[in-house]
Symmetry: C2
């Protein structure tokens, strides 16, 4: 793609930043957003900008805050990318001591709560180290650098070491190596893609028996593969659910996708098409 | 039910403890487990014991660690309960100062990472307070009590105030009041219930078009309502998914549930019946 401005959540070095860089290596401007809602506002107000947001993680599941923002905003999903999440332990550079040996001298390790959770075994094996919350992984790395204290460390992506001038004490700190996050690219205007082969939808169903079955029939009848389905209770409406659906269609055949959605409108109560885009393999 | 031993994760006052107490008010023994896997081991080795574990949260979604343990163990789900999650700010008792006024004097607030995340707005509004991770909410309350330091506080359930002799500085600290957790009751032996009206399954599907559709057809043909469906990528198998399904059947009609499962075996690759049990309304 060209060199549009690209928004991501967090600061340089965050996983969202790395995903955004991978999607748009030539971006003319990388815009840091403090929160997902700020990011959606920025993208919604931009005529040519993009945003890159995490939508699901292989361990933690769907990121409902982002789904809620996709649901209530009018931005379009125009791409996706899978990023492997590998956590490193980073500290002030002290080449006099062997890196792994320094772990025993640490007092506090800062990171995003999800990253700390994903490295539970490290803290179980090092009970003397306190796990401290920071708003994001890269911010924790910057905080450790600014502190100039060798008893502190951060859990962050390997790239944060170079970005903030820290030493890597240990790699692959995460309990589960099969940890990847799926990000989607969003924009205000739909992006015409003759490469599109995947669609994402959120819908609600009428209160009738077998209504989910009848909705999925639309895809089955057309030989379109459903790659994700998830029901999510709607707050305040005990027996109502939002359904998240991803489906595949022949590359570039937007008409097939459109026809499925048109028929789906007859079988759902509300429907929001998040976008048709080119799928990436994980 | 009778007065069996009941396992829960965490220490007295944790949300799991409160859920277990609500399910088994007459339990002759409440067994604290350090982790979910320890809890599953305890229940799996017990002839008459039960366990109470969280399986999904209205904000965070499914708790995949518990689903994985349900999948790989041979315990049975025999009940469910919904618990509203309300967080309180608890500190050492100091009746000389008005509770809300003390918030400005706090330095650190300890809690489980999920609870800290759910109270993000409180930390945004009080940037001088550091959010610190503790393994569980009730443990954080106990830690604050043991510290005897008035600059520390914990985020935990209201019940932890009485249990650990702390003062409630503020109630309903959570950003979203629609925060509830669904717990399931597990046991080694299936519990015969003529009140059962809900079933939970985990299955994988053959690599054929419309295989999910054909699986759901089993329920649609029998007028059985599917209340939850979720696809989850299987680690290491890029195009394979586990499907979590909950469905309802007429109260006590285990035969209808069994027939659906029997037919489902013909349409799935692997299937694990977690259990048939009495549903609870949230």
């Amino acid at each position: 793609m060209a060199s549009p401005p690209v928004s991501y959540q967090g600061i340089p070095g965050s996983f969202s930043y790395l995903a955004a860089k991978q999607c748009f290596p030539e971006a003319r401007e990388m815009i840091s957003a403090k929160s997902f809602s700020e990011l959606f506002r920025t993208v919604g107000n931009s005529t040519d900008g993009y945003g890159v947001v995490p939508i699901e993680n292989s361990l933690a599941g769907s990121i409902h805050e982002v789904y809620d923002l996709l649901h209530s905003s009018d931005v379009t999903v125009c791409g996706e990318i899978y990023l492997r999440v590998a956590h490193c332990l980073l500290a002030i550079d002290n080449s006099a001591i062997e890196p792994e040996g320094r772990i025993g001298t640490l007092k506090k390790v800062y990171s995003h709560p999800k990253a700390l959770e994903q490295c539970r075994r490290f803290f179980e094996n090092n009970p003397g180290i306190e796990a401290c919350i920071y708003s994001d992984t890269a911010g924790a790395a910057k905080f450790v650098k600014d502190s100039s204290t060798s008893e502190l460390a951060a859990i962050a992506a390997e790239e944060s070491a170079a970005l903030y001038g820290l030493q890597i004490l240990k790699k692959n700190l995460e309990d589960n190596p099969g940890n990847f996050t799926r990000f989607v690219i969003i924009s205000k205007r739909p992006v015409n893609s003759d490469q599109a082969d995947k669609g994402s939808l959120i819908f609600t169903l009428p209160h009738k028996p077998a209504s989910l079955f009848k909705a999925l029939e639309v895809f089955a009848e057309r030989n379109l593969n459903v790659t994700k389905v998830e029901s999510r209770p709607i707050h305040g409406s005990p027996f109502e659910y939002n359904f998240y659906i991803d489906f595949e269609f022949p590359r570039g055949d937007i008409q097939a996708a459109d026809e499925a959605v048109t028929e789906l409108r007859n079988r759902t109560r509300t429907i929001r098409v998040l976008g048709f885009y080119k799928s990436e393999q994980r």
